[in-house]
Symmetry: C2
Subunit: 316 residues, 2 copies
């Protein structure tokens, strides 16, 4: 896919990936509605296959490849949910996923990749080491590189979550997503813009990894500088495919601090009984701390995933 | 209600309480199915109002009372989910709930009762102190006593969870419940027996609080002796209303140890992303440790609740 995906491509992605994933439920909470003075709808991608929305994009990319193209497997660098998602998708197509991971990647993430048969190659925890190691693997194996977010097939796949949301919940005033590399945000913005032009799309980012917010304000792509946040899914910077879509179609990008993220995550756990990872709590943090105007409105939040080390919680 | 409830009473309870609670979802997990070599269905009462199935019985009892009967409020002794459930039900009927709690009751449980406007009276952590304190309150206020489980209105209310389960999932071979005082188990046994006679009902109990198992085997009511278990919802002993129903209608009562409970709870958190309390994990512990025969069968488990102190998890 060489062009920005439109509604047709996102719908095609939804059809393509449907047999291999869950249609996740949408939850509500009166307590959180009262706190926000709004109607909130939570799209529970923590219940998604592999525990995160990432599987949507990975499935779409892997199932878009022909038998010939997939023959030598797929490869990526990721220490997070894309790694497990790609391993899962590759397993379904009976091919290999080769994953480059920094050698300090949490053992729980390594375990997830291996549980789907993925092959891990460790490298130093730097971007250049990641890229060099991946390049070497691709040269040696001829595997197809599936980027975690800067890929139109990935973007179209991630957009399918918003498609389901809009089908299920009527009259949504705004959709909030966490933003890291921008795959989920750009996919959501494309889907929402095509299906419900009046619905706003707002991305929320940790203050300590605010490249998207700065890029959006300045109108040009600025990378993250030494990002440090408990929202470990949001450390990456926007790419040259995700940024233009976000620049054109998002209404706003706001930031939240680490305490706000932690408190919002605690509330989702305690009040909704949903096990979500810190990245998932970032949009609710914005809602509860007045970073976006939701009063009296219907706001949907995509809970991006539930892959968190339950032996090591941020409030312990 | 002076007689053992039949299907008509459980159906009437379902109608009565429907406006005030959730129809909770039924979740599945391929990973756990593979581990159990069975098809498992999890009825998610952790998502229920007040975070536990207990609200079903409390609502049924409170909404069964006439305006006159409810005028002086309701009262109970409980350090657990029944306390919050009764406070919630009383609030809906604009009356008072007075709750006797041991003075060492976890602050999270106290907070829940107060959040629904319940009035707490503390007592020493002994059964006789509880009973005396409650008696005094009832004498002084003329409040109606709503027992946590040994009450046919409560039993009928708890039976509504199984009613929903049987409506939604076809051909269930067995239903597993955790058993403490027996309200959920006896209500489930009555509903299942009336709606699907071929479906077995199996209660699962912590080995360290095995009064139900011993009573079932001996055919007479034996109280718990110094029960100690992380499944804090299951410390109570069967009552003279719940035991005869369980004796007649349950197929089996099995026990699991503390490690088995902890491991099953961890799996539900990690693999299903469901925040459940230790009591909820007790039936899965039985399934995964060969205490019940499920191979190739369709087994439903009632996840009883999600009220757990997330600052103090059993594996930390």
């Amino acid at each position: 896919m060489d062009n920005v995906p439109g509604l047709a491509e996102i719908r095609a992605a939804a059809q393509r990936i449907k047999p291999y994933m869950h249609r996740t439920p949408v939850f509500t909470s009166l307590t959180l509605n009262e706190m926000a003075k709004a109607e909130l709808f939570f799209k529970c991608e923590n219940f998604q296959k592999t525990g995160a929305f990432k599987v949507r994009g990975a499935l779409n990319a892997v199932f878009s490849l022909s038998e010939e193209e997939i023959g030598s497997g797929v490869a990526t660098h990721s220490s997070g949910n894309h790694a497990a998602a790609l391993a899962y998708a590759a397993k379904l197509r009976a091919t290999q996923a080769r994953i480059v991971m920094p050698k300090n990647a949490p053992s729980i993430k390594q375990k997830a990749v291996r549980s789907y048969g993925g092959i891990i190659t460790f490298c130093e925890p730097t971007l250049s080491a990641r890229e060099k190691t991946l390049e070497k693997i691709i040269t040696e194996t001829n595997a197809r590189f599936i980027h975690p977010y800067n890929d139109y097939r990935i973007i179209a796949g991630q957009g399918t979550a918003a498609l389901e949301l809009l089908e299920e919940i009527s009259d949504i005033d705004l959709v909030l997503t966490p933003v890291g590399g921008g795959g989920l945000t750009s996919g959501t913005a494309l889907a929402v813009n095509a299906c419900s032009a009046r619905t706003k799309v707002i991305a929320v980012e940790p203050q300590n990894a605010d490249d998207a917010c700065r890029s959006f304000k300045e109108g040009r792509l600025l990378p993250s500088v030494n990002p440090q946040t408990i929202a470990d899914g949001l450390l990456t910077s926007l790419g040259n495919k995700t940024f233009p879509i976000i620049k054109d179609l998002c209404d706003e990008i706001v930031t939240v601090n680490e305490t706000e993220i932690k408190e919002a995550m605690y509330l989702i756990w305690e009040r909704m009984k949903l096990l979500v990872e810190p990245s998932s709590a970032v949009p609710l943090a914005a809602v509860l701390n007045g970073k976006v105007t939701v009063k009296g409105r219907r706001a949907a939040i995509i809970l991006s995933g539930g892959n968190v080390d339950i032996n090591n919680l941020p409030w312990n």
